[in-house]
Symmetry: C2
Subunit: 148 residues, 2 copies
């Protein structure tokens, strides 16, 4: 089902599939975007803040986007983020299996643009133990239903 | 020069090298992390909100991290983000050349952890026209100088 602004209400929840974070994917992402020892090398990572290999927070964020795009929050015209706030309460580790839980916090029609609105969504990315590895509140652009 | 908490002061500025966003890199990132028509396909992107191919905001964020890691803000122990707020005021397009400007907003010693503190940094990711494609305020963990 394709969702328009009119289909969304505060309190609505959406869920996603699962994504496993392999050590190889963690290192590949880090080589491209976040080349630091604790994301690249199992041994060197031991003597760092993370005490072992950990995914870049931006890798966790990117995988979260993938889970959102493939979730049951199937927005008309796609998922278009305007921005948000995020924290990483604990690292994502090799072998972690991530899932996403999203909760609609607010639905606001635009005053100036009659064809759209903004939805504020709280998304928690969880590992296989149910621990939060990313907590994000984001604003997404959502289209209104076209007039008949 | 390796920077500790004591080396950082509010008002300090850091700059980065440049990174070109190619159409191929935009599509490769999107296939992995944000598979939506406006990030994947030049033709399909025309009829969307973006009116042409645009990078995933998470791709811009990941490249920003790369620019930060390679910038002259060379933090002891690496760049360890605790979280932040970000917006994407305009899309990143194929051929855009991104650079990063960072400004230290606040430097705070930890009350409970004598060996570290938090630095709040405002980072603007600019395209080759000087337009802001990502605006982020982030909190980073920074180590104090070890006692002699």
């Amino acid at each position: 089902m394709t969702l328009y602004l009119e289909d969304l209400v505060a309190g609505q929840r959406f869920t996603s599939g699962a994504h496993e974070m392999t050590a190889e994917a963690i290192k590949t992402f880090a080589r491209q975007f976040d080349p630091q020892p604790f994301h690249l090398d199992d041994v060197a990572a031991q003597d760092t803040f993370f005490h072992g290999l950990a995914a870049s927070g931006w890798h966790t964020a990117a995988v979260t986007m993938r889970l959102l795009v493939e979730s049951d929050m199937t927005l008309a015209g796609g998922v278009i983020g305007a921005g948000g706030e995020l924290t990483w309460p604990r690292p994502t580790r090799p072998g972690d299996v991530l899932t996403l839980e999203s909760l609609v916090l607010a639905v606001t029609a635009s005053k100036s643009k009659p064809e759209r609105g903004l939805v504020t969504v709280h998304s928690r990315t969880l590992n296989q133990k149910g621990e939060v590895v990313q907590d994000m509140t984001s604003r997404m652009l959502v289209w209104r239903k076209p007039l008949a």
